[in-house]
Symmetry: C2
Subunit: 350 residues, 2 copies
């Protein structure tokens, strides 16, 4: 019985410079995508659809000059060369949807059986993939329907697709599944929580979760720069205050937050603004010994570290981890349990 | 009485695009460096020495083709144009040493009086500075002796220079003053702490602090790739295990740490390795629900966020904050209280 490595090292092919230690699958140039090789720590999936990362899809669209068949050929070529849909130009991947074909003996406890529909929550950049053919390229949703086989390593997160929610809605929520569970861990009863980018997808989930955690004695303050989203948030009624303001304006944000908190500022600030330069607003909105959680991939490590130091802000700074145990179930449950959130998601992403 | 803003906004001069909100002092193009303007939230310092950031000094050295007077002229020009020693090419600053001239009425509780020698711990990139002249450029230490005046804002950290420690030793320790206090907060009795880059300056401080916190039941494991530093660490005798290994090799590090912890891995991993590509080693060395603290400025936010997600690592990821309340005293006290640490620092940095 071949067990394989939980991180998937058994599928990493040697690099050109064989003197270097083997990289993890995500950093590897090529993965062994042979689905006929059986490892008992793997789940094997018949792939239906690749959800391509937005930046990657745009690059392929440019390269193919908008010709859909050309995009399909680029996908086939990348997977042929690398054993994974890991765009060599953008470095990004995406996720996939498919049906479980086989569950290894060592990963039965992961809770899926052959025939179950699943979505991977680890990037395509580390997922072994073999393609027979491309069926259809759908540019509106950056999706590519394919016939192929993928492998999910023992440590790679995935979600069973729920039967009671429309697929597009579920995928939209799963895309930011890590956000709400982290808020659930950090927000305590009676605290003041500030969410930057509160009207967007992850921001809304964070607001709903924070509201549950801080209770009636606590405060949830949502900051949003995009007027229609700020309107939605206000109509939603989940926040104690909705502030329409640009999160790049650190001093303006500090002043507005100080104003609505009687100079106390936040115990916990969550940044969901996917725009560079919002680090200092999040830090300035937070009181001493408070926590600042950055979910946005546009966050600069050095801007946070040096920025907090420069103003003597004694706060804990967190890099948003997209994974938390049970995060998919947690987030889907949030969507099911709050009708206003559900209808807002339906309207926007359904 | 003019109070000024604790973040120093009162010294930020308007940007070319006046429609934009005023940036914080660090992002500002120009600061008002007039020391004759009195604000009661400021400390005014007679500057003796600028400790220029290494990258900045190298750039000026190149530009001046190694001519020391040329470096001096570049410093004078930058400060003249920007009101701060904020290298416009590298974007970096440094710190300064000087003697307190005046303490504003609102910052008396900061614990210094006129005549005290201080070192700023906020970057020169946000410190208003006016120079009369450059006295000497000292390339060996990237220092520039000057006659001039600087302003310390109410939120900007600084340290009183200790009288019982040699200046170079104190400066070396103050440079990484944030490290040990954060370890003191996070490491608990009985835990296993892994330090990557354990033989370097901040790594040593983290090991000593971790040892105090985890106690005899706990474990401190130091990983170091540079053989002489690994030797020093071994001779120091503060770690339960010293592993000589390259921190860019995530799987190798995981295996070595698993081996010395009976597959348990770390409750807390501190990364002090200032080399890109060490994120996954730190994450792989840590157990589920453990904490990973990144002090190195070479850390990539996205490598941490996406890397942890990709392998389903449910760990808390921290951006190292260079500031913590009382961090300078804490770190100097550590140096005073441990003779072996003190003599190692003497040998290397004294």
């Amino acid at each position: 019985m071949d067990v394989g490595d939980p991180l998937g090292m058994h599928r990493v092919l040697p690099e050109a410079d064989a003197a270097q230690p083997l990289p993890l699958p995500q950093r590897a140039t090529r993965l062994d995508n042979d689905p006929e090789k059986v490892f008992e720590s793997e789940i094997v999936v018949d792939v239906e659809t690749l959800n391509i990362d937005a930046a990657s899809f745009r690059q392929m669209d440019d390269e193919a000059k908008g010709e859909l068949a050309g995009i399909g050929r680029i996908v086939m070529r990348t997977v042929e060369q690398r054993g994974k849909q890991h765009n060599p130009v953008t470095g990004s991947g995406g996720m996939l949807l498919g049906k479980v074909r086989r569950v290894g003996a060592l990963v039965r406890e992961r809770g899926v059986a052959p025939g179950d529909r699943v979505a991977t929550l680890a990037s395509l950049s580390l997922t072994p993939l073999k393609l027979e053919r491309v069926v259809e390229v759908r540019p509106a949703s950056a999706q590519v329907d394919v016939v192929g086989t993928a492998v999910i390593f023992a440590t790679a997160p995935f979600a069973k697709m729920p039967k009671d929610l429309p697929e597009r809605l579920a995928l939209a929520a799963l895309d930011v599944a890590g956000a709400a569970p982290q808020v659930a861990r950090l927000a305590k009863p009676g605290q003041t929580v500030v969410v930057l980018g509160a009207g967007g997808k992850s921001g809304l989930l964070c607001c709903v979760e924070a509201r549950k955690r801080v209770g009636r004695q606590g405060k949830v303050i949502g900051l949003e720069s995009y007027a229609p989203f700020a309107q939605d948030l206000l109509a939603f009624g989940i926040c104690d205050a909705v502030i329409e303001h640009d999160a790049r304006d650190a001093v303006g944000v500090r002043d507005r937050i100080a104003e609505v908190t009687q100079e106390e500022c936040a115990d916990l600030t969550i940044s969901c603004v996917n725009v560079p330069g919002c680090e200092m607003a999040a830090i300035c909105a937070t009181k001493d010994r408070g926590k600042v959680y950055f979910f946005a991939m546009s966050t600069s490590f050095t801007a946070c570290a040096l920025g907090a130091e420069g103003i003597g802000a004694d706060v804990d700074l967190y890099i948003g981890n997209g994974y938390a145990e049970g995060h998919a179930d947690h987030t889907l449950e949030l969507l099911r349990s709050d009708n206003r959130l559900r209808s807002l998601f339906d309207k926007r992403y359904g």
